[in-house]
Symmetry: C2
Subunit: 250 residues, 2 copies
């Protein structure tokens, strides 16, 4: 029994397909804690979206800063950070607002994510300590993930939430996912599609003045819901570009 227990986390398929994206993290201790949990559970791809600069410098230069933190990459926006991912998951305690995206418990989400990792990249977004993920970031998510906590005290510490999520993803029984996922379009593809479609709508007079933002959000959520496959995304983009060319020509 001991031998079995001592066995390391087996090299699981596709762990490198998962990246963790920390958005606007302020506390260097939380950055360090998140990186440590990643290293503990074998998820090594960390991306940071405009981290509070001093926090990042402090965490990265701390004695014993992990390899994960040293190799972390910085991005200036969520769309850029998730551009190569075909599944984007936001984390929330859902205690501040009703979500407009579908929501899953961590266990449900982990099943979906593990299956997805067999065929494409996935990003899990964690927001800042104070306000969580901003609405603009949530709009880039295919669904939201919630760790079931007590109603009287739902909001978890960032480093602890990261550890719990990665523990669940690394669970023994997930090592061999039961099925292979259909390949989905990357977030970069979806974003190009969204922007092209928006431009088309704008140029075509569909968007009434004052409704630009609402339409953009509605559109973005729609495209995430329908889960476009890569070939379809390419095809749609080709069509849109042609439409745009025509719209601009007039």
């Amino acid at each position: 029994m001991t031998a079995e227990i001592r066995a390391p986390i087996a090299s699981r398929p596709n762990l490198e397909n998962l990246c963790l994206v920390l958005v606007s993290t302020r506390n260097p201790l939380n950055l360090g804690a998140a990186a440590r949990a990643m290293s503990n559970f074998g998820f090594l791809q960390l991306r940071l979206v405009h981290p509070y600069d001093r926090a990042f410098r402090e965490a990265r230069s701390a004695v014993g800063a992990s390899a994960v933190l040293q190799k972390a990459t910085e991005f200036s926006s969520v769309p850029e950070a998730v551009a190569d991912c075909s599944l984007v998951v936001g984390t929330t305690s859902l205690h501040r607002r009703a979500p407009e995206q579908p929501a899953k418990t961590l266990a449900e989400a982990a099943a979906t994510i593990t299956t997805h990792l067999t065929s494409g990249r996935c990003a899990i977004l964690f927001g800042s300590e104070k306000v969580g993920l901003p609405t603009e970031a949530l709009d880039h998510c295919h669904f939201l993930l919630r760790i079931p906590t007590r109603a009287a005290h739902p909001s978890m510490n960032l480093g602890q939430a990261v550890a719990v999520c990665l523990y669940e993803l690394a669970r023994e029984e997930r090592r061999l996912p039961k099925q292979t996922a259909a390949v989905k379009a990357t977030a970069g593809n979806l974003e190009r599609l969204t922007v092209s479609l928006l431009t088309a709508l704008e140029l075509s007079g569909y968007i009434k003045p004052g409704t630009e933002n609402a339409t953009e959000r509605k559109l973005r959520r729609l495209l995430h819901r329908i889960e476009v496959e890569p070939e379809d995304a390419e095809l749609l983009l080709g069509m849109l570009h042609q439409i745009l060319w025509k719209l601009r020509e007039r």
Copy 2:
């Protein structure tokens, strides 16, 4: 779906039967983090065994210190802290030594613990940040619990390890345990049994000079392995007391 996700952790049976015991914790941030995770997942009984004094004062007086931390009780030894518990579980990353106690993964351990909570108290021990649980504390454990982590980086942050353990214990599918556990003797009972038996062995000349400690540890582990039921513990104690009286009379 949202409604389901928003539902709080249902009042699970017997959560109050679990207590978390932090042994020699030094860092006030870790004390605070452990208490926060307990509150998040609905486990509210915190016990501290000689915490580093300044750490405890700092954590308890911190702005926003949780109700869990305010209500925490202090003990001067592990046996006292677990005296009313009939299942004692130690946590370890097992990377420093081969354990002499049986070891289970967190998922296996959680199944055992949840079943146990239907009939008796359970204590989960967490050691200090630097050295983990001392051998004397491990000897009071029925088994050890290990969170499966990467061999290259097995040791978790204390607050994160607590969060992961409590998340696993609070998992949805554990809300209704499948079977009721047999009632086990409390640690206090087991300790009286151990001490009485040791005294008897000593008085009877069984223990050779220089082997006292080894015999004590061997005996303690034995009594934890056999999982004595309360009535049996009482019965054995009665027998032993009689033997002791006789031994002393000579």
